[in-house]
């Protein structure tokens, strides 16, 4: 029996199922190459906007005592145009380009910047919990989601993924809207809006006050969302939220995810985490007699 970590997310083919989540380490092609050598199946870039953004002042990240991180980096990024130039030489790394914007035309403009780049997919970040006008305000509006997805689909043949999160409306409505407009896959979930206050100085720690909670705390919530989406829709899903071990990854596969993303675990365990998880999944597959990831996707729904 040939054992393979390859997976497919609809039309997207990856050699390995563990992706780097958006926002993490994603500003340099040299780093992307290093990550690929370290075992990632694909790199999702920082969310790019039409213009370069500096993001929020520090502190932009906070380590929660009970585990996990709260970040409000504020989508700092060099802008789609600069970024496209930077990754133009890329040949080897499967790159998923993450995009943020407030109107359909933003996404159209940005996708066009990447015409000369090898892009595996675009991921529409519809759910940043700490930046106004381009984050959850977009994802919380299913009509706007439909327009954005439709425009993106009309702009390129490269697969389009929508990244959803827990906002002020039901994320399943966002998922439905994206599917109705032809989305190729769903990434679930983004970070969850949260905050931390320092009791000595009696003030919120992040400069933006609010940030997005990531890491182990949100894993059970993210897993629930993947299970809910896969129970309701026949759409490829990428699980994201607090994954740091191979067991976590397998839980998401069993819930219905065809691939997973992680970010916070890099902060805790550095980039060794990718091959650690790859190896753990392989051992599990051997033990359970699976030859492909696909065989375990969604198994928990059958019980």
């Amino acid at each position: 029996m040939e054992l393979s970590l390859a997976t497919s997310i609809g039309q997207i083919q990856l050699d390995r199922p563990v992706m780097l989540a958006s926002g993490i380490l994603g500003i340099s092609l040299d780093v992307f190459n290093r990550l690929y050598r370290s075992g990632v199946g694909a790199v999702v870039t920082k969310s790019l906007s039409t213009e370069p953004w500096e993001g929020y002042p520090n502190p932009t990240i906070f380590s929660v005592k009970g585990g996990g991180w709260i970040n409000a980096v504020g989508l700092s990024n060099p802008g789609a145009t600069n970024f496209a130039k930077m990754i133009e030489p890329n040949q080897d790394v499967p790159i998923v380009v993450s995009l943020v914007g407030s109107i359909p035309e933003d996404f159209e403009m940005m996708i066009k910047q990447f015409e000369n780049c090898k892009v595996t997919a675009y991921e529409l970040n519809l759910s940043c919990p700490h930046v106004a006008k381009v984050g959850l305000e977009v994802g919380d509006d299913p009509e706007l989601v439909k327009k954005i997805v439709t425009t993106a689909k009309n702009t390129t043949d490269v697969p389009i993924i929508a990244k959803v999160g827990l906002g002020t409306t039901h994320y399943l409505n966002t998922v439905s809207a994206a599917i109705d407009s032809g989305i190729d896959a769903i990434t679930a979930i983004n970070t969850v809006r949260a905050m931390a206050i320092d009791v000595e100085t009696q003030r919120p720690i992040l400069s933006n006050k609010f940030g997005g909670l990531s890491g182990t705390p949100i894993k059970p919530i993210a897993l629930r969302c993947v299970y809910e989406i896969s129970s309701k829709h026949d759409i490829p899903i990428i699980g994201c939220g607090g994954i740091s071990t191979w067991e976590d990854a397998v839980e998401f596969f069993l819930a219905g995810a065809s691939a997973i993303q992680l970010g916070s675990a890099v902060g805790d365990n550095w980039i060794d985490v990718f091959n650690d998880i790859n190896n753990g999944i392989l051992q599990y597959m051997k033990r359970k007699n699976y030859s492909s990831i696909k065989e375990m996707v969604g198994l928990a729904k059958k019980q």
């Binding site: 926002g23 993490i24 380490l25 994603g26 500003i27 340099s28 040299d30 780093v31 190459n33 290093r34 920082k46 370069p52 953004w53 500096e54 993001g55 002042p57 520090n58 502190p59 932009t60 990240i61 906070f62 380590s63 005592k65 991180w69 970040n71 980096v73 700092s76 990024n77 060099p78 802008g79 600069n82 320092d198 000595e200 100085t201 003030r203 720690i205 400069s207 970010g263 916070s264 890099v266 902060g267 550095w270 980039i271």
Partner: protein
Amino acid sequence: MQRNNNHTTIVTIEKVIDETPTVRTLVFSDDVMSNVLPGQFAMVWIPGVNELPMSVMISKESGKAAFTVRKHGPASTGLFNILEGQQIGIRGPYGNSFDLKEGKLLLVGGGTGLVPMMRLLTFVKPADDVTVLIGAKSKDEVFFEDLANNLLENNPHKVIVSTDDGSYGEKGFVTDLVEKLVSKSHFDGVYVCGPEIMMYKTVQSAHSRKMFVQASLERMMKCGVGICGSCCVGEDLVCRDGTVFDGQHLSTNKEFGHFYRNKAGILENY
């Protein structure tokens, strides 16, 4: 229970020392930070202002540590303006440290780049022959000269100051002094921290002569733990892979000495 180095600890500044009109050292009590290795850094939260990476300064008293800060931007000025009795948040230590050789050593520091050099001096062996170069623009920006001499009182040593304008010590760039010294004699270890061009030239001078050289790099940092990517230099992350890099490695890095990334992550020339 051991402290998780990612968790912010609040400390109170106990003493403020004016080093120059624009440089101050802030002393506080913290066992963890008093014992960091040379090259390691802390992320320092100035409540209501910002958070920035700082190399951890030594203190004369055990159990205490310090930050030596030069005011230039809003963040460092916020730290510079902290008064005795005020609180800051610290997390870390983060990063690797210098690999200290034995024998004839050359330490080169510019400005607050002297901080890891001073800590490195606390680790030299009595037999080591140590030369410390302190580079500054002018006389009133020179500090830590006495401290370096004190730390080396049991060693064969020289502390040489150079100022760009010649108002104190030798006149000229400290990197010219480095070139002169390494061309005359072999050093078993060369260590540098300061402005990137100074580090780049020092690494070039030493590495081209096959001397062991290490530099402690500085980059904008947001997270300090390898998540945000702000501090990448080529494929290296200063927070995780550094701050200390070997000259051998740096000589293959296309960005070192030439480019840094701004807050949006765009490469800019030095």
